[in-house]
Amino acid sequence: MPEAPLRQPPDEAQIEQIIARHRGQRWALIPLLQEIQEAFGYIPPESIRPVAGALGLFPAQVEGVISFYSQLHTEPRGKKVVTVCRGTACHVRGGQTILKLAKQQLGVEEGETTPDLEYTLETVACIGVCALAPNMTVGTTTYGSLNPAKVRRILGSPKEADSKEAASNEGTTGEGNGGA
């Protein structure tokens, strides 16, 4: 187990500012939570009570919604989210090994964040680029046709990997490519 990531208390004024835009709008719970996550990279637990108060909900209801959606997080996440594909195509082409390597390289388990808050490791059911399997994404960059050496290169020194790999044909950059 890695150490729990160090977390700075969030800027309360910033939370209030975001909440103020939606005060009284009970329907806006999810967009509001998304905006907070956008600003902080996660939803600080300190924001649950003010959000509930502003929307006329119970704090337990707000946390219920957050805990229901896998894309809402109450813990800090790495600057880059590494998402290893576990889809069928990736699986038959060694996706399991890629995941194992990613864990070794980052020193965290699935769903965890490195103590330096650089990386969060996750898996996904399918990225949608099965032709290049096995795949993973780092941030918004997708890497295909992975092999152990490549994984080590990408996660070992990401900056270097960014410039080399993403520029080549194997990497595609785009938003919203990740599966749910």
Binding site: G56, L57, A60, Q61, E63, G64, S67, F68
Partner: protein, 893 residues
């Protein structure tokens, strides 16, 4: 109402449009199993065991959420239905632990019942192991989530009935569980331990901690809760001569499936080892046990001697609003007919007298006008001087339901932050003691901005011209300056109240226990009359009663100025009726009120007192003087269930039975007469108060002419017209609950306004002696959820005491910092009259300059800080607020 007809298991059944298949089936006597369904909760269709088949479409429908439609052909028992139900329940059992052998829920488990009805033996699925994880350490509720079937009844009970919002489902899929925010133990959450989730849980996932291993009881006695004035119906489960559990009584009209922590878990004071079991008499070594014969002989001998030597005026009787109607009636009859003294009063004087003094001559009826249901149909609710969540939880639930679920708006007038504050749309934090000014300010805006109900004012009221002239003095600027509430907020509150079509006012001890209580009540009546918010559904004035039978004790005439049924002693024909029935001549002027008894005792003019169920040493102001006054008495007889501070001073102590050990009726704050039933035999040699009073009358040689409780009830019905009209009194021993509907003559809406007019009163704000250099802080006292009254019962309830052991005082963060006081530090609260030790709680709930202490103080007498000042109209001692200073350290260190 449009009727819809469907075929249910081959029978044609019809019901109003909108009802569900399940509701119609239940009405038709067809049994459909359910788990997540509960009659007090909104349906969610979560568990699916109530599946039925619609045979025309061959669809399986979830009957609890499917509304009936014309021509439906429903089969509740088809082979498909049974097969699916079995599969659903087997899946639940697959992830349910095999702990039925040791589970406290036993044969009360609904999952077990549904499974055995379906004939499920060994489940055909592999088990998913579930480990019990119990993290709560509170003394009330144990959560074992391994037994949870995710029906969501606890979550709905929490959010829909008591509206605390302490729990909701967290997580998703297999990981989903009802949980507090952040998964913390209940005691760290918003939970108020009302136990509503425990009684709604179908399995053993939620259980009462003290009752583990007791199992199912064969006897359940439905009675009425003995704590606050709400009058919740409470079902006591009795086993082996002990109360095993308490749960909400089925169909209780006030609480409807809920209780609070006191009602649900505070009953254990009944089994306290400190209960008095024999009469005690003062001998050479203090109080010693004696026989009943000796005790009664001594008391009657003493009373007779003092009457002979000093006249009946030298005797005083103080009764209690914890006693039944019958006991209060008997006690006042004992005082008037046996002792021949006019000095009879009861403890409701301390909290409720301002209501009948203030409302009788203004709104036309001396008590609450409206029912608890009306609160939920209001558009606007104004709450003043009432910490509802602590002092009247069932009313608090109703208010929160109205706001959270029915869109009512809430104006809260309270300097302190309470758990109701987060529901308020407008929160006015007035300086204590300035209520009259604030309310006059509201009335002034209503008049000047044309928000009054002209038709109602013209048709039903007198004195408007005078009031409207009087109110001109209360300009917004002046009121803002006096009360500290912003003029704009006053204006907004007046507009909100004045323009609502259905508005209720709820007030509590914060109003009635102040030196200006009667005037404040009159000012509230003005608001109600100006806007016509009275005598209609969804309107009214709600006078909360601090104690279970405060209304009844006053109805029964245990008061020095009024005979039973509020018959004035000056009312010749009324008085004659009593004189003829009792065969004596009654005095025409009032006797001594509670606080006056103490001053007269101190002066040596009252020589003997008979105190039943009251603890004036703790409940009256200026404890030291009360103690001294009682010490001067030649004879002090105290009748109680515990050796209270007052009983400890007595010449003779008579052991009384608790509420669970006697029968009779309590009248709640709405005026609803409700049954009290005997669940247990009296402990030891203790006896019910009514039996003791009768025995004492016999010993005095002038029996009351009444043998049984039934005789007492008959005489009350004969002499108190509205009690007769009730049909609500229950004959002792009668099976089942008879009609507990409120008395028809006591409801003011629907054209039964008892008088033809309401009378406005021009009341003035009078500045009080406030802060001084020596005493720079204002101490406010009030109710606390985990302790009650002066705490004589709740501090002896092991669970309540364990959970709330401290005598505390809440200090604002600003004052704490200024005085260098840390949280949990021992402090002294010092007033001009006294001093108490307390533990400081530093909180942001308090505005600066204000302290709060609960009136139930386990280790001291907080009321002893107050000087003995009476409201001149109601003779209520002012116990709401006083000037104090706060010092660091323990007084005896």
């Amino acid at each position: 109402m449009e009727k819809v007809t469907i075929t249910l298991d081959g029978r044609e059944v019809s019901g109003p449009k909108g009802v569900t298949v399940l509701e119609l089936a239940q009405e038709a006597g067809i049994n459909i199993p359910t788990l997540c369904h509960h009659s007090y909760l909104s349906p969610t269709g979560a568990c699916r065991v109530c599946l039925v088949e619609e045979e025309r479409s061959a669809n399986l429908l979830v009957s609890c959420v499917t509304a009936i439609e014309p021509g439906m052909l429903i089969n509740t028992q088809s082979s498909r239905v049974i097969e699916r139900r079995k599969a659903i329940v087997e899946l639940m059992l697959a992830s349910h632990p095999d702990s039925c052998m040791v589970c406290d829920k036993g044969n009360r488990c609904e999952l077990h019942r549904v499974a055995s009805k379906l004939g499920i033996g060994v489940p055909s699925f592999d088990k998913i192991p579930q480990r019990a994880t119990i993290t709560d350490v509170n003394p009330f509720i144990v959560r074992d989530m391994s037994k949870c079937i995710l029906c969501g009844r606890c979550v709905r009970a929490d959010q829909e009935l008591v509206v605390e919002g302490a729990i909701d489902f967290l997580g998703r899929g297999f990981g989903s569980r009802p949980s507090t925010v952040g998964g913390v133990p209940l005691e760290q959450s918003e939970c108020s331990f009302c136990g509503t989730c425990v009684v709604t849980c179908p399995t053993g996932a939620l259980a009462e901690r003290g009752a583990m291993g007791v199992g199912t009881t064969s006897r359940v006695v439905t009675t009425t809760c003995p704590f606050c004035g709400c009058g919740c119906s409470i079902a006591l489960e009795v086993k082996d001569g002990r109360i095993a559990r308490a749960r909400p009584g089925d169909g209780g009209p006030v609480n409807r499936g809920t209780l609070c922590v006191r009602g649900a878990y505070g009953y254990d004071f009944v089994h306290s080892t400190e209960r008095l079991k024999t009469p005690l008499m003062r001998g050479t070594d203090g109080l010693e046990p004696v026989s009943w014969e000796e005790a009664l002989e001594t008391v009657s001998e003493g009373f007779r001697r003092i009457i002979r030597e000093a006249g009946p005026q030298s005797l005083a009787v103080l009764g209690t609003p914890t006693g039944t109607n019958e006991e209060n009636y008997l006690l006042q009859k004992f005082a008037r007919c046996v002792l021949h003294t006019p000095n009879i009063d009861n403890g409701a004087r301390l909290c409720g007298a301002a209501t009948y003094a203030g409302l009788g001559g203004t709104a036309g009826y001396p008590g609450t006008v409206g029912t608890i249901d009306d609160i939920e149909s209001a558009e606007l609710i104004l709450v003043i001087g009432a910490g509802l969540s602590a002092s009247a939880p069932a009313v608090g639930y109703a208010v929160k339901r109205a706001v959270a679920r029915k869109g009512a708006r809430l104006i809260l007038i309270d300097p302190r932050m309470t758990s109701l504050t987060r529901f308020a749309h407008l929160w006015l934090r007035q300086e204590p003691g300035t209520d009259v000014a604030l309310l006059n300010g509201l009335a002034s805006v209503i008049v000047s901005d044309g928000l009054l109900d002209k038709e109602f004012v013209g048709r039903k009221t007198v004195g408007f011209e005078e009031l409207s002239r009087h109110l001109q003095r209360y300009s917004l600027e002046y009121v803002q300056q006096v009360t500290g509430v912003a003029a704009e907020d006053i204006r907004r509150a007046a507009h909100a109240y004045g323009s609502a079509t259905r508005a209720v006012i709820i007030y509590g001890g914060g109003v009635t226990r102040s030196a200006r209580g009667t005037d404040t009540v009159k000012a509230l009546a003005n608001l109600s009359l100006l806007t016509g918010n009275i005598e209609r559904k969804g309107t009214g004035l709600y006078a909360l009663q601090a104690r279970n039978n405060a209304q009844g004790a006053c109805d029964m005439g245990a008061m020095p100025e009024l005979l039973p049924g509020y018959c004035s002693l000056a009312d010749e024909p009324g008085r004659t009726k009593f004189e003829r029935r009792w065969n004596l001549t009654l005095p025409t002027s009032a006797g001594l009120a509670a606080a006056e008894m103490m001053t007269e005792a101190a002066a040596g003019r009252v020589k003997a007192m008979y105190i039943v169920g009251e603890n004036p040493v703790a409940s009256f102001p200026d404890a030291a003087s009360v103690e001294k006054a009682l010490g001067r008495l030649e004879l002090l007889v105290v009748q109680d269930i515990f050796l209270t501070d007052t009983a400890a001073l007595a010449t003779v102590v008579l052991p009384a039975a608790s509420f669970a050990e006697k029968a009779g009726t309590f009248t709640n704050f709405e005026g609803r007469v409700q049954p009290v039933r005997k669940a247990l035999p009296p402990l030891g040699e203790s006896r019910p108060d009514w039996e003791i009073i009768m025995a004492l009358a016999d010993a005095m040689g002038s029996p009351l002419g009444l043998e049984t409780l039934e005789d007492v009830q008959s005489e009350i019905e004969e002499l108190v017209p509205f009690f007769q009209a009730a049909g609500g009194t229950e004959r002792v021993g009668a099976p089942g609950v008879r009609d507990t509907a409120p008395w028809p003559g006591r409801r003011l809406y629907e054209q039964v306004f008892p008088s033809t007019f309401g009378r406005f009163s021009s009341v003035d704000y009078v500045p009080e002696e406030g802060r001084s250099e020596e005493y720079p802080l204002i101490l406010v006292t009030g109710g606390q959820l985990f302790q009650f009254g002066t705490g004589s019962r709740t501090s002896r309830s092991p669970r309540l005491r364990r959970f709330a052991p401290d005598s505390y005082v809440e200090v604002s963060e600003v004052d704490a910092e200024r005085l260098g006081i840390r949280d949990s530090e021992e402090v002294r609260v010092v007033s001009a009259t006294g001093m108490v030790a307390a533990v400081a709680r530093v909180t942001n709930a308090q505005p600066r300059g204000l302290l709060f202490a609960p009136s139930a103080f386990p280790d001291g007498r907080v009321n002893g800080l107050f000087p003995a000042i009476l409201d001149s109209q109601s003779k209520t001692p002012a116990l709401g607020h006083c000037a104090v200073r706060l010092e660091r350290g323990h007084p005896y260190a």
